[in-house]
């Protein structure tokens, strides 16, 4: 292990890997120190049910890949990162076997017609509205991407500026996402679907002041890509992009301290006492509280920063539990008799018949209990990619909205772990009669507490910080820190608690790199890049 680098990055999650590859390419000798034995943090794929069955326990949607800067800048496809873009992107079925609603990918114009027809079964108004909006977004999406892939510039969060252009009243910007959906759509079936899809993006449906966040949801829905062989292949690709540039990566190296020299970040100390010097900078994509309060230490921070960091809120938005099922057969939905694509949609909503059920489900979660209704957003990636399951078998992964890790005791989580899948399967059978216990070869349940322990996604919040009006955009994580710098000179933040948040976007890592490039006079290659960000 070298004892000195230009740049040291704490944490090998997707954002740290992104920043590392760019810094090394820009000429900084860079190393990443990761606490775990694997790179990629939440871009992980696991054989948690049975050998040969792959499950993406965290990231499954890879929706930003058309923009994702490192994917293009480092030619990650050459490094084995490949994607599939399923035609039927999202579907919802119903327990009484009513026709499903299926939404199709946006790459082909004729797919809008299919999407329209599907929604129009329940409401022509909703179909017109949704398809109209989604088409408008196609025109705007590169502009939205510019907001995403730049440090936040203003205090409104940016995305809400688009409301007037889309014919949505501006006052809804400060309402809840639910209010926006209720304003736009009328049919119970489609609202159920929209509520749930919104929830996958993170913000709590009824949280006031987050209406503008629906723009991100408009943008990325139906842009959902699946990673061939597991989302973790992207972690492999990002790490190898950095290694190809000459970067170093050390796993099993827990950083316990950011070393300071005259108030400037000058290096790190590992758990075993080893110190490594950083000639230019230290950047952390570890949890913000651990970084500032434990690694830097309260005594080295101003009263304002200590207060800001302590007040930073984590959960209830973005708190998920995952289910993983190894299956003999893929689910065969009752609703599929009206549209066989119901059985081959990338993202399938199961367990909800009405918008009220979704609301109850989320209210349960934010009240600190596992939802009484065990419904989920699910993926059966083996339908497209044989790498996900042994021949003829299938792997299903799903997400539940869940209470925070600290809401339940360890014993209570163990109980949930042991029982909730059964509850889910019992409900699933009402939507897809072949989803009996006998169809399940093995199952696994991944709790928010597991996520906190394993990934240090505190409280099981995959964005490492709530989406709430005072924690988005320029306010994320708090105004003084929003530009990826800290009050410690040479210490930068690049975790999902920064704008634009987590997800498989590489946004935080990329934006942090821009700020570092500015501070250290590195070449600003993006200024002349045709993509515009």
């Amino acid at each position: 292990m070298k004892k000195e680098y230009d740049a040291i990055i704490i944490g090998g999650g997707s954002m740290g890997l992104t920043l590392g590859a760019y810094l090394q390419r820009a000429g900084m000798e860079t190393a990443i120190f990761e606490r775990r034995w694997e790179e990629g943090s939440a871009i992980c794929t696991s054989e948690c049910t049975a050998p040969g069955f792959l499950h993406n326990l965290h990231a499954n949607f890879c929706e930003f890949m058309d923009w994702h800067p490192p994917y293009h800048d480092f030619k990650l496809e050459e490094l084995g990162v490949r994607m599939i873009y399923p035609e039927a992107q999202a579907a919802i079925g119903f327990s009484d076997g009513r026709p499903p609603i299926v939404l199709y990918s946006v790459e082909k114009p004729e797919n809008f017609k299919k999407t329209h027809e599907s929604i129009a079964q329940y409401s022509k108004h909703d179909a017109d509205t949704y398809v109209g909006l989604r088409k408008q977004i196609l025109e705007l999406q590169d502009v939205i991407a510019v907001n995403y892939y730049n440090p936040p510039q203003d205090t409104t969060g940016g995305r809400g500026d688009f409301f007037p252009m889309l014919g949505i009243p501006s006052d809804l910007i400060t309402a809840s996402c639910k209010a926006v959906i209720d304003y736009l759509y009328e049919s119970s079936e489609f609202k159920t679907m929209m509520y749930r899809i919104l929830q996958e993006f993170g913000p709590a449906l009824e949280m006031e002041g987050l209406g503008a966040m629906i723009m991100g949801n408009f943008w990325i829905s139906l842009n959902w890509r699946m990673m061939v062989g597991g989302t973790h292949t992207l972690a492999h690709g990002l790490e190898m992009a950095g290694v190809r540039e000459g970067m170093d990566f050390y796993e099993n190296c827990e950083v316990v301290k950011v070393l300071l020299d005259n108030g400037r970040a000058s290096g790190i100390q590992l758990k075993d006492g080893t110190q490594i010097k950083a000639r230019k900078l230290v950047a952390s994509n570890a949890d913000i509280k651990a970084t500032m309060l434990d690694m830097v230490g309260e005594e080295n921070l101003s009263e304002t920063w200590v207060r800001r960091v302590k007040n930073y809120r984590i959960g209830y938005s973005n708190v998920l539990a995952s289910t993983a099922l190894a299956l003999h057969e893929a689910p065969d939905y009752k609703s599929a008799k009206y549209n066989p694509d119901m059985n081959k949609a990338f993202y399938t909503i199961v367990g909800f018949d009405t918008p009220e059920e979704i609301l109850q489900y989320i209210r349960d979660g934010v009240s600190g209990r596992m939802p009484g209704i065990a419904g989920a957003g699910t993926w059966v990636n083996s339908l497209w990619d044989p790498n996900y399951a042994p021949k003829g078998k299938h792997s299903l992964t799903g997400w539940f909205f869940a209470p925070k890790a600290s809401d339940l005791t360890i014993e209570e989580w163990d109980e949930v772990k042991a029982t909730y899948n059964d509850k889910f399967i019992q409900r699933f059978e009402k939507w897809a009669p072949n989803m009996t216990r006998d169809n399940v070869i093995a199952d696994y349940f991944y709790t928010p507490l597991d996520q906190e322990l394993e990934m240090r996604l505190m409280e099981g919040d995959f964005q490492n910080g709530s989406y709430m009006p005072n924690q988005t955009g320029h306010n994320r994580p708090f105004p003084e820190a929003s530009q990826y710098r800290t009050e410690i000179e040479g210490l930068y933040l690049c975790g999902p608690y920064m704008h634009p948040g987590g997800g498989v976007s590489s946004g935080v890592g990329y934006n942090c790199f821009k700020v570092v490039a500015h501070d250290f006079g590195l070449e600003k290659f993006w200024e002349n890049h045709p993509r515009g960000f």
Binding site: W37, A50, G80, E251, P386
Partner: protein, 536 residues
């Protein structure tokens, strides 16, 4: 546009595939490695199998060739920029016996001698002479018998007599070829427990102690009884290291890319086709590090010219009679043992034998396994890596492993039994057994225990056919120049340009890197490569 032309394509990113790729890449070749699984490393596989934060080595756990194998040095796999670190536990192994006594093998051979002397001074002295004698021959044996394409077994016998080895040594005898490890132990040692300790060591190395002919390997094996090392951070770190080395030489590794077909033109292997119908071409060679069945029967075109006698050998390739049943444990503490009253060092020993008391115990198990019976009374190999690697469990907790030899096929009904509740029953039986030896450790100290069966092995790593992590029987008919068959023992196949570089070739499975290194020698010869690596 993706690049599809390479000098060499390697099928399988296990440790051998990756090592060969790195040598070739470092020699300036353009190399592509295709791996079926999501992760590189094959048996170098570490996962949070029981609970998050508890890292378990699901396959490879014991690395005994560090410092002996030239690949570690050539490719700088230890220390330095991308390298791993190894722990070398001072108390390497131990046996705990039912009467409360215990024996320990140390890196310090004086201590080993002292421990054995408590059972038999005579045996301890014998062991010491044997160990010293082996050490004197170790480099020669490593160079000729491990890290060189295999010679005919008969030539070894001849060499022993030509060099008049028998006159110079007490233990090396040509007749070792006709006896088993048990026979060797019976001949030279008197005390049951010492014999059991040494036989246990051989069994964990993958050698059945009653197989006639294996005694020839035994002295050599004993020479590294003090070289058991633990890859810090999990065995998978060695895979990361190899992968980063590959990347530094611009070698591409594609995961989740099962090879479907080896492309053959005019009798020469020219490339491969992956499951998604992509084709990749190799100017110089294709090397397979996976099993024979997949390579020859599944991937080669039906009209590939495989001579009948070779096809017969492929079809009749023998696998080990048994496999491992493992119990992985997330634990509240590191166990200590009642036998520490007799020998306190036992609490610091890494690789433990709990159950084999005498050679008959081994024979009983081998017989059960060959009769497809799961040993009713499991005899355990226990290892708690957390004693030497604090990164494999949360602070104050520990990660533990129990391993037992069992058959793959149970009661002649196939491996399906391993998918029933029997695996939980057997898990409990193993834990109960372990409990009996401990003084501070009960089931209640196990946060979670999860079995990993022979069927799991073969389903996770499909080239470990029948759950055989040695990838082929360890017997004279299947070692050295007979592995995988007399006609293919030189890493070449009847298909021009198709090489073998995996554990089906000499020497065998385990993290020896021998197959890769020896395949490299064959390839270097064929392609007139400059040999920058250390020749041993």
């Amino acid at each position: 546009m993706e690049n599809t032309k390479y000098d060499a394509i390697i099928i399988g990113a296990g440790h051998n595939g990756m090592a060969l790729a790195t040598y070739l890449g470092k020699s300036g070749w353009k190399v592509l490695v295709l791996e079926r699984r999501l992760e590189e490393g094959g048996g170098l596989c570490t996962e949070q199998y029981t609970r998050v934060e508890f890292n378990h080595n699901l396959h490879s756990n014991y690395h005994t060739f560090v410092g002996l194998c030239p690949v570690y040095d050539d490719l700088e796999l230890v220390g330095g920029r991308d390298g791993v670190s190894y722990a070398h536990p001072p108390v390497q192994m131990g046996s705990i016996f039912e009467d409360g006594t215990a024996m320990t093998i140390h890196t310090d051979m004086k201590k080993t001698h002292a421990s054995m002397s408590r059972f038999s001074k005579k045996d301890a002295d014998t062991f010491q002479r044997l160990y010293k004698e082996v050490k004197g021959f170790q480099d020669l044996m490593i160079g000729t018998l491990m890290y060189a394409p295999p010679i005919d077994v008969n030539d070894i016998t001849k060499a022993l007599s030509i060099w008049k080895v028998e006159d110079k040594t007490e233990f090396f005898r040509a007749r070792l070829r006709s006896i088993s490890i048990n026979d060797f132990l019976d001949k030279h040692f008197e005390h049951d427990k010492i014999k059991a300790m040494l036989a246990f060591h051989a069994s964990i190395c993958g050698y059945f102690t009653d197989v006639v002919g294996l005694a020839i390997s035994f002295p050599f094996m004993l020479g590294k009884i003090d070289n058991w090392r633990l890859c810090l951070g999990g065995a998978h770190r060695l895979a990361h290291t190899l992968w980063r080395k590959m990347r530094r030489y611009d070698i591409t590794l594609r995961m989740a890319s099962p090879v479907q077909k080896i492309l053959v033109e005019n009798g020469k292997a020219v490339g491969v086709q992956t499951y998604d119908d992509q084709e990749f071409y190799a100017d110089k060679l294709v090397a397979s590090s996976i099993d024979l069945g997949q390579t020859f029967n599944d991937m080669l075109p039906e009209d590939a010219a495989i001579p009948k006698e070779i096809q017969l050998e492929i079809d009749n390739y023998q696998y080990q009679d048994g496999s491992f049943f493992s119990v992985h444990m997330a634990m509240d503490k590191i166990p200590t043992y009642k036998a520490a009253e007799f020998d306190p060092d036992i609490n610091n020993a890494w690789v433990l034998n709990l159950g084999f008391e005498r050679l008959e115990d081994f024979n009983q198990d081998w017989e059960d396994i060959r009769n497809k019976k799961v040993p009713a009374n499991p005899k355990l190999n226990v290892a708690v890596n957390s004693m030497f690697d604090s990164t494999d469990a949360p602070d104050g907790k520990a990660t533990g492993l129990i391993r037992v030899w069992v058959p793959y096929d149970v009661d002649g009904k196939g491996p399906g039994t391993w998918n029933t509740s029997f695996k939980d029953v057997y898990t409990n039986r193993c834990i109960l057994k372990m409990e009996k030896y401990c003084d501070n450790f009960t089931r209640d100290d196990i946060i979670q225990a999860k079995p990993y069966t022979p069927l799991d092995i073969s389903e996770k790593l499909v080239n470990m056919v029948n759950g055989d992590w040695m990838m082929g029987k360890i017997s004279e008919e299947n070692l050295m120049g007979n592995r995988p068959s007399p006609l293919m023992s030189q890493y070449k196949t009847p298909i021009d340009g198709l090489y073998l570089c995996g554990s089906t070739t000499h020497p065998h499975g385990f993290i020896t890197f021998g197959p890769a290194y020896n395949a490299l020698k064959a390839i270097a010869e064929d392609f007139g490569m400059d040999r920058w690596w250390e020749e041993i």
